[in-house]
Structures are given as C-alpha cells and as structure tokens.
C-alpha cells in the first residue's frame, strides 16, 4: 500500500499509510467536521483513499464536479445536488452515465431548488440509481406531472418531498402512488393542484405511508377520510388547509398510530375537533394548533390529560391563553419538552409559573411577543426548567438583565436565545456570556448594546454559530474584533444597519473562516477594500448581502469573483458597481445562483446584457429593475427562463448615470 504513497515528510504519516483502509475509514468516521476531514485527506493519501472508499454522502457545488464525485466515491449513498450550480438535464444525465456503467448505489438524492432539472434528468437519474429510496424535489417550481411520471419509475422509493412543485396535479400524484407503492413519507406541501381525488388514490395505493404532509392544499375532509385508512400513519401535517374542519379530524380518529398532527392555520378547526381526535388517538406526541383554534376550550384541555404521558410538543401560537389554561396544560402534560406560545394574548407571569412548575423537562419555550412577561417569568423558568435549551423572548419589553441573570446562572444548557427587540444592555450580555453552550444569539434592535457587551460574548461563547446584530447601531469595529477573536465558529452574522462599521471591522471578520452568511445592508462606510478582505478570509461564504452599501465599487466585485467561489446568493442593489465589474463577477462565480441587482445606476444596458449572458446557465433567481424587461434582449430572457431562472421584476424607475 505504501509503495504508491509518496514518501512523506513526517514519520507519523508513514505510519498512517501502513494501516489498513478499513481502520482508516473507521477512524475517519469519528471525524465529523468537513474541514478536519479535509486536513486528514491532505495529510496522507492513505486517508484520502480511505475516505474515497468509505464516503457515503456528497454535496457537490458545481455540476462540473459531479462526474468526478461519482467516480471518486463509489460507495456514495446520499447525494445532495441542491447547491449544485448549473445543473440541468443534460449535465445530470451525462454525469450519471459517466459513472462507468456500474449501477450507482445512491439511495438518497436531494434536488431541492434544482430548477434546471426536468423529467429527462429525473428519468436518467432513476435509471442510473436502481436503489433510490428518497428524493427531495422541493421548490422545483417548474416540476409537474411529467417529472413525477419519471420519478414513478423508481419502484423502491420510500421518501418523496415535492413541496412547491407547482405543476404537479392529481395525475402526477397518481403516477407516483402507482409507481412507488412502498412510499412511507410524502410531502406535497404547496402542490395546490392536488385535490381529494389524488389523495384518495394515494391512500389506496400506498398503504405503508407513515408521514404525510398535505399543507396548504385545497383538500377537504374527504382527504382525511381517505388518509384515515392508512394503518401506519404516524405524522400528518395539515397546515393552512382551509377546507378542513372538525369533521375531518373526527375521521382521523380511526386507528391509534398517530403521533404528530399539525393543524396550524386551519381556520375551521376548533378545540372540539382536536378533543375528539385526542380522545381516540392515545399516543400523540406532537400537536401544533397554532393560529387555528379561535379559542382554547375546556373540552380540549381536559382531554389533554389522556395523552399527558406521551405529549412532548404543544404549539398554541396566536391564541388567547389565560393563566388557568396554562395551569391546566401544566397539570396534564408533565412530559412537555416544547411549548409554543408565540403571539398568545393573555400570557402572564402567573400563567408561565403555573405551567413550568409541572413541566420540568421543557427544553424549548417560545414566548415571542408575549408582551406582558417580566423578569418574574424568567425567574420561574430558570428555577423549574434547568434543561431549557431554547428561549425565544422576542419583543418582551419588560425583560432586562436581572431576569437574564437568573436564566444564565441556572440554565447552563442554553443554546439559543432570541432577545430581539428586548431592551437589554451590556450587563445582560455579561450574564449571558456565562452560558458557554450558546450557539444562537439574536440581539436585533437592541440599540443599547455596545462593544463592551460583545467583548463579554467574545470572551466566553466560543461555540456561537449565529449572531444577529441587526440595527445595533452602537456597535463598532472593536466589538467585531472581540467577536471575531472569541467566536471562531460563527457561520451566520447579521450586521445590517450597524452603520459605524468600517473596513477595519471587516478586516477582523475576515478571520472567521466558517462564515457562510453575512448580511451587511446599509454599511455605508465599507468599501471595496473591506469586501476584499472578507472575500479573501471568509472562503466559505455562501450568502452575502451588500444592499445599499453605497461605497462598494468594482474593486469589491473583483475580489469576490476572484476568491468567493462558493458564493451562491448575492445582493448588490444600490452598490456603485459598473458593467465591467458585474461582467467579471458573473463570469467568474461558478456557484452563484441567486442575484439581486436592482438600482445599479452605473451599469449600462449592455453591461446587464453581457453579464447575464455570462451567467445565465447557472442563475436560478434574479431580481432586476422592471424597466430592463423591455430593453434586455428577448433571447436572453428566454434563455434565462429555459435554464430554470425566475426573474423578479421590480417596478421602479430606471435611472442612468453611466
């Protein structure tokens, strides 16, 4: 084995070469971070070979790489093509056929938002992957019955997600139902053409269905009658089904396998319907009744005790809930792990107290916009729910550092806290910094937060992944320096309207190698220099928002096109860029799929035309000024459309400066 391995510089690596591939693969299985795996690969060819042989999943970012990926990783079972830029029928079919004629072992394929893939590509995929079990086609808005017919050839399919495949009708669903009788998970959310007839056939043809999502469909109770014949049905989502009412829920009462039901936004579902459902389905674990019940009635609350042992998730967003209701819930459901009371009127400190006193296992508490809550509620949560991991407190204006101090001292597991629009200060951050597990911190609109607070965070929250500083206008470059210093794992950072930030701050941020999403709207002081440092440093960048960064010019775009090869989503509206920079950007960024460029008044029509031509095979979403619709060449627009690109035209006047 070591004979073809190059003589290594370090003796330790030579030792690695001597190990068997199985052992190396086993060792690699313990390495989860893709960056660490890359380091291993780079350190030794033996590792590279071991990984190639054992790798199970891949997520290619460009379709040019797809054939190589398929050849290099023969034991691939999961293929995520959702971020694969420029993927279309021809490239998918070619890549799959170039895999050497051998049958691919791929079982799961994600084609979410792969708008360029149509039925030809799917047909090729199904033919090349005989063991296909799961396909995700969500948000392929152009997909229709023909695509489903192609998929239906995959007889072994068990999971199918086709959310927002707008062209799919009952016929397409019937194709899938007949072709894939073993289906056990199906989501047809937003497929508005599907009706009761299709669902009825689905229930007849796919008896093994366990999870069904028919959210936002125009279906009636008849669909629920059909679905109730499914003996294994465990999960059902009916979000926003306007024609479903209590009668439908009563039909679901047959059998007792149901574990999760989501009736949020079903305006015709009432407490009685849910009560009758609970009455017969004794093992329900999750109920989401947000924005549906008009009021919470005692019949529902009293029935809750029958599923008190199993119920773990209860979401009642948007309801009128009083302390007595919360007490009844607390009395019945001792095992609750998640409670959702977002936008519930009438939630008070007393109500929260009576709930959490009994529910010691709560991990997620969502009290977004419960305006009446004060520090007392936080205190009682801290006292009773030591396991709490997620606290959503957005727009609870009476909460301050005192309450958060209690939380921080008692709830050491806290991973996520949303304090958007809560008037907290640096002192609160000082307390929160003691939660070293913190991963998500949202501080939007907390204008009293300053660099000092961020220094606290930076000093202790090393695991922070997401930080939202939207409109924290007191933040300056120093704060960013502290965060960038202490929180190396940050992936998502929102700095919109923190107008004091300059290029120096971005220089600090450029040390965040894992940063993927960066929003910097209206940072008027940053220029191409700052963007350049970001582009060079943050190589993982996927999404970048530079809207209204008026000082950003072509230099920034040059840097982006040179270094940010992973960039997928970009907003450069109002930036001071020219056609040349735009051309270069669009010509070079091979992963770019979503581009918003409104009000680029320095770019000429030719500039738009040329740059779009350079990228039209890859773009999926485009936001442009409406005035350009008539001046851009029709061929270009047709090509864009043919490549699966959707253009959003903004109706604002066209202004030229160049």
């Amino acid at each position: 084995m070591s004979q073809d391995g190059k003589p290594s510089s370090a003796g330790a690596v030579a030792g690695v070469d001597a190990l068997s591939q199985d052992l190396l693969a086993h060792a690699l299985a313990g390495v989860h971070d893709p960056r660490d795996r890359k380091s291993c690969r780079l350190a030794s060819r033996a590792f590279a070979r071991a990984e190639a042989a054992s790798r199970r999943s891949a997520r290619p970012l460009r379709c040019e790489a797809l054939p190589r990926v398929l050849r290099a990783f023969p034991s691939l079972t999961s293929l995520d093509l959702s971020a694969c830029a420029g993927l279309d029928d021809a490239s998918l079919a070619a890549a799959l056929s170039s895999a050497g004629g051998t049958e691919l072992g791929v079982r799961r394929v994600s084609l979410a938002r792969a708008s360029g893939v149509g039925w030809r590509g799917l047909e090729a995929m199904v033919a090349a992957c005989p063991r296909l079990e799961a396909v995700d086609l969500s948000h392929c808005v152009a997909a229709g019955d023909r695509e489903m017919a192609a998929l239906a050839a995959a007889a072994g399919l068990r999971e199918l997600v086709m959310d927002k495949c707008l062209g799919v009708t009952d016929v397409g669903l019937a194709k899938v139902a007949v072709g894939c009788p073993g289906l056990d998970r199906l989501s047809v959310k937003w497929c508005r053409e599907i009706s009761d007839i299709g669902i009825e056939l689905l229930a007849k043809k796919c008896p093994n269905l366990r999870s069904v999502d028919i959210s936002y469909l125009k279906v009636s109770n008849e669909s629920l009658r059909s679905l109730s014949t499914l003996e294994k049905l465990e999960e059902i989502a009916l979000v926003g089904c306007m024609f479903i009412d209590d009668g439908g829920l009563r039909m679901l009462c047959a059998g007792n396998s149901l574990q999760s039901i989501d009736v949020s936004r079903c305006h015709h579902v009432t407490s009685q319907g849910l009560a009758s459902l609970i009455d017969s389905q004794r093992f329900i674990q999750k109920i989401n009744a947000g924005d549906s019940l008009h009021e919470i009635e005692s019949c529902f609350l009293s029935k809750l005790s029958t599923i008190g042992e199993t119920l773990t998730v209860l979401r009642l967003d948007g309801l009128e809930i009083f302390a007595s209701n919360l007490q009844a819930i607390g009395d019945s459901c001792k095992n609750l792990a998640e409670i959702g009371l977002s936008k519930c009127n009438g939630v008070t400190d007393d109500g929260i107290a009576s709930l959490v006193v009994h529910c010691g296992y709560l991990r997620t508490i969502d009290v977004t916009c419960c305006h009446l809550l004060t520090n007392d509620a936080l205190a009682v949560i801290a006292e009773n729910c030591r396991m709490v991991e997620c606290l959503r407190l957005e727009s609870c204006p009476f909460i301050n550092e005192k309450g958060l101090e209690r939380i921080a001292t008692h709830c050491s597991h806290l991973k996520e806290i949303d304090l958007t629009d809560c008037r907290i200060n640096d002192e609160a951050l000082q307390h929160l910094a003691s939660c070293s597990e913190l991963e998500i911190l949202k501080l939007g609109l907390c204008s009293s937060i300053s660099d000092k607070g961020l220094v606290y965070i930076g000093s202790n929250c090393a695991k922070l992944v997401e930080l939202d500083l939207y409109r924290c206008s007191a933040i300056t470059d120093e704060g960013l320096a502290a965060v960038a210093q202490g929180c190396k794992k940050i992936r998502m950072l929102n700095l919109c309207y923190c107008t004091q930030i300059t290029d120096a701050g971005l220089k600090h941020l450029s040390t965040l190698e894992e940063l993927t999403n960066l929003e910097m709207r209206c940072l008027v002081r940053i220029t191409g220099i700052g963007i350049t440092s970001i582009a060079i440093g943050c190589t993982s960048l996927i999404e970048l928002d530079l809207k209204r960064c008026y000082s950003v010019d072509d230099a920034g775009l040059w840097a982006l096109s040179r270094y940010s090869q992973n960039l997928r989503q970009l907003t450069i509206s109002y930036c001071q860029v020219t056609g040349l920079g735009l051309c270069h950007l669009l010509g070079s960024l091979r992963s770019l799929q979503d581009l918003k460029m409104v009000h680029l008044s320095w770019v000429s029509i030719e500039g738009f035309e040329m740059s779009l031509r350079a990228a039209c095979g890859r773009l999926k979403k485009l936001k442009l000024l409406g005035g350009l619709r008539s001046v851009l060449s029709p061929e270009l627009l047709q090509t864009l459309q043919a490549c699966g690109c959707r253009v959003r035209w903004v109706d604002k006047p066209l202004v030229y400066k160049g």
Partner: protein, 523 residues
C-alpha cells in the same frame, strides 16, 4: 323495387326498411345497438371478404346449413386445428420480433408494420374462434326463444362482425344463400322470415351505385346514447301493473314533429300551447270553459287525471305496446328521445371529433362538452369523461396509471404505446360494434367510445375469453389469464407475446360464460 330507394334518398323508405329489419334486433330494452344479427355465418363471411388473406379461411369455416343444425365434431376439430396453426405462426412472428427488439433499439417503422400485421392476424383468429364456437349454437336442445342466454349469445356473437346485417353498411353479397334454415326455433323463424322479406330490398340497396359507402366505412356510433338511454324513461322500479294506466301511442310523424305541446288525451302535438287549448275543446265540453281556455295554472286537476304512459309506435320495440314484455315510456319527452335514439338516423355529427353521431341534439351537446380536450386517459387506453372516474378505475386495477397528455416530447414508452395502438384502433373500428347494450349497471363507469365495452361489463365479470378478445381491440391493456391481475403497463416489449399466448389459451367455450354475463346485465 325502384332504384331510387337504393340510393337511400327517401327517408320514409328507409324507415320502413329498417322497421322490418330491426324489429328483431331489439328484443330487450337494453339492446339499442343497431343491427344485431341473430346468427353468424353470413356476417363472418362478409368480414372475411373484406380481408383478402382470410377470405378462403372464412369460407372454409362457414357453417353450412346442414352442419349448423347438427353439430359436426369433425368440422369443429378441423377448425380448431387450423386455429392452432394460425396462432403458432403468429406466435413465431412475435417471438422473432421480441428477440430483435432485445438486440436493436425498438421503435422502427418496421416494427410498427409488423405489429399491424400481427394485430390483423390476431383479429382474424379471434373471429374464427367465435365462428367456431358459434357453430355450436343451433345444436342446443332448448328452443332458442325460451333461452335468453342463447339469444343473447347469438346477438353478441353477431355483433362484432355485424356489418352485413347492419342496415346495408357492408356489402353482404352471399348472405342470402348462406342463411341457414333453422326454422325449428320460433325466434329464428320470425327473424329469418323478416330477413327474407327484406332481402330483396337490401340487395337492391347494395347494388345501388353508391350504397352509402361513406356511412359503412365509418365506425358505428352507438355508444353515447346507451348512456342516455336511461332517461328514455326506463323506469325499472316503477312496475305499474298493466291496465292501471292509459297507454297512448303517438304516430311517428307526431313524435318527429317539432312540437312541444301534446294533448294528454290523444297525444296530438302542437307548436303553441294556445293551439293545444283550442284543440282540447274537441275533447269535450269541460275543455270549453273560460278557465280551461285561459292560460293553464299548474296542478289543476292533475291528480284525478288517469295515469298515462306512452308506447313507441315502432312494432317490435320493447317500448311498443304489442311487445310481450312491454315497458311503457313515462312522458312524451321520453317517447321523443327514445324514438329518435333507437329508430332514427343519427344525423347530428360532432364537429370536433367527426366520429360521433347523435339523433338527439341534446346528446350531441352533452358530448361536445366532453369531446376532445378534457378526456381523462388511463395508461391502458381507456378514456373517461371525468377525473374521478379515471381515478376510480386506476384504484381498481393494479399497475394502471393516469396517462399524461400525449405531447411530442414524450418519446420512450408513450410513443411505443401509441404506435401499437394505431392499428389496433383501426381494427376495433373496422370490427365495428361490440355488444354495447343497455346502460344498466355501468353508468357508474361512464365509459366512452366503442372501446368502452370493457367497462361496460364491469371488470369484475370478465372471463378470460372476453378479456382476450378485448385485448385485441384495446392495446396497452395488458390483461392476463386472471382477469383481476393486470400487468403494469410499462412492459410494452413483452406485450405482444403475452397477448398471443393468451389468445391461444382462450377456450371457445368461454363464450358461454360471457353470454351469461351479458344477459345478467341486460335484465
């Protein structure tokens, strides 16, 4: 007979002719299809004449009069042997085709031509089979008239090749000489008499310069009004005892006149209600009062009026009061629709498909609503007027799926299927009418077109013979020996072979079962 009648110019003349011919073609209420001949010899021969290759065979298989009265096992055996050989030939061809398909990519026009050839062969085999089985018929001990199943069988057997009898649609040159003399059976006696009486006339018609050739080549439209028949006033559940109602029989002219107001006493029709009221004065003094002459107020005296039912003026029709099992029609509208649908020419042609003809304009309008674009098609080729009917069908049969609308983009299986189906459809058309009788029991399937035979006898009651028979006319509908297990429609390459095999396994006696099924439905 004057040559003028031969050209079919005089509608009255034609009506008279069809009267005498058709009165036996409608022995039961459900059977509304025109021209079901009661025996099989002549029609089959005429069909074979149309097909040059098979003409000799057809003649060979023709039961001659002496054979048909006494069952000749020798002849049957020889026929069956011939069938065996024929089937084997076809099988070889198909096998060679399937072999070749494995090697070369399918879809060449050569394959299509061969498929066409095979379909033609298979069709002829089936017809011979039926003919052979049919020759058993007259040997039945029971008098035919008392055995509905036999009558039914004879009807159904005749119908697939029923051109000769189907009101001069096909030249049936030698039909006269071939009429078997089976006068023992009373049902036949009448029929043959009537046939003989009309024979001259028909021959005349055929010898005419243009014996309605266009009409003959067209597929016989007989399906839509079957569905409609139910509103002819077929009140199965009514069962008024005879004599409990007044029977009124309107004259043909009255029925066909564009009247909308009818005298409840004598049935005379009027265009205007005022004229009717004037007419009513003749029926007695009670109609002369000012109140009666004034505009009618509804429900006045309707309760004490005697129950009135109507009779069709067409002698021999079950709706005619002379009929043994007379079933009255409920309203004048029923009479009008019934008469037009059953005893009149279909003069309204759908302008969209140019195929379907109707005698009642309302039927045409109903059809035009569904004709063309909103056809719901199953992968087996069956079409439905409504989506839920299609989905009900798909739910019932394994492997069937709703078919996507045929676009030119779909190249692989769809085009193959279509290629196969073209010759098939042709044949099914040239074979004309399958026994589509009443709408009883099938209205829930809502089938259309001539190929609706399938749904007609609800899939549950198929026997292998019918399945196989149907299989020839309906490509892509992969029926296997077991009527309940259908192959998935994807495997088109094997279809041809399997069809042939199925065809060879069909026992001729299966026809009897089929007949029973049929008669079940016609009650």
């Amino acid at each position: 007979m004057a040559s003028g009648t031969a050209t079919n110019a005089d509608p009255d003349q034609q009506t008279v002719r069809s009267n005498s011919v058709e009165q036996f073609y409608f022995p039961r209420p459900g059977q509304s299809l025109p021209g079901i001949p009661p025996f099989f010899g002549p029609p089959s021969s005429s069909l074979y004449l149309a097909n040059d290759n098979e003409a000799k065979v057809g003649n060979q298989l023709e039961p001659n009069p002496s054979q048909s009265t006494d069952w000749d096992p020798q002849a049957i055996v020889s026929n069956l042997t011939f069938l065996e050989q024929k089937i084997k030939q076809v099988k070889d061809v198909v096998q060679s085709m399937s072999n070749r398909e494995n090697q070369v990519a399918s879809g060449s026009c050569e394959v299509a031509a061969k498929q066409q050839l095979i379909t033609a062969d298979l069709t002829s085999i089936i017809i011979q089979l039926i003919t052979t089985a049919g020759s058993l018929l007259p040997s039945m001990k029971n008098p035919l008239s008392s055995n509905p199943a036999v009558r039914q069988l004879s009807n159904t057997l005749g119908s697939p090749m029923g051109f000769g009898m189907n009101a001069n649609q096909r030249p049936s040159v030698d039909s006269k000489t071939d009429i078997p003399d089976i006068g023992k059976a009373s049902g036949y006696e009448e029929l043959i008499n009537s046939l003989n009486t009309t024979q001259d006339e028909r021959d005349e018609l055929i010898k005419g310069p243009n014996p309605c050739g266009g009409e003959g080549s067209e597929p016989t439209p007989m399906e839509d009004h079957d569905v409609k028949e139910s509103d002819d006033g077929d009140h199965e559940g009514e069962n008024l005892p005879p004599g409990s109602y007044v029977v009124l029989q309107l004259e043909k002219e009255e029925i066909l006149a564009p009247h909308t107001h009818f005298c409840l006493i004598c049935g005379k029709g009027f265009k205007r209600d005022a004229n009717l009221r004037m007419h009513m004065r003749g029926h007695g003094d009670e109609y002369k009062t000012a109140a009666a002459l004034a505009k009618p107020t509804r429900d006045s005296g309707s309760d004490h009026a005697p129950v009135t039912r109507y009779s069709c003026p067409f002698v021999g029709c079950k709706r005619n009061k002379e009929h043994k099992k007379f079933q009255p029609l409920k309203t004048i509208l029923c009479v009008k629709n019934h008469y037009k649908r059953s005893h009149c020419d279909k003069s309204y042609t759908c302008s969209r498909c140019n195929t379907k003809k109707f005698s009642v304009i309302a039927d045409l309008k109903t059809h035009e609503k569904h004709c063309g674009r909103d056809k719901w098609l199953c992968s087996c080729g069956t079409t439905f007027s409504r989506k839920d009917k299609l989905f009900g069908h798909v739910a019932l049969f394994q492997g069937h799926t709703p078919a996507l609308p045929m676009d030119d983009v779909k190249v692989s299986e769809a085009s193959e299927q279509q290629q196969g189906s073209e010759p098939m459809n042709e044949i099914s058309r040239s074979m004309g009418c399958f026994p589509c009788s009443s709408s009883d029991g099938i209205s829930n399937l809502d089938m259309k077109m001539a190929d609706d035979v399938r749904g007609y006898y609800s899939p549950m009651s198929f026997d292998p013979c019918f399945g196989a028979l149907d299989d020839f006319t309906r490509p892509g509908f992969d029926i296997s020996e077991d009527p309940f297990s259908f192959l998935p429609s994807g495997c088109t390459s094997n279809n041809e072979t399997s069809r042939v095999n199925k065809g060879s396994n069909v026992p001729p006696l299966g026809l009897w079962k089929w007949t029973e099924t049929l008669s079940d439905f016609s009650h």
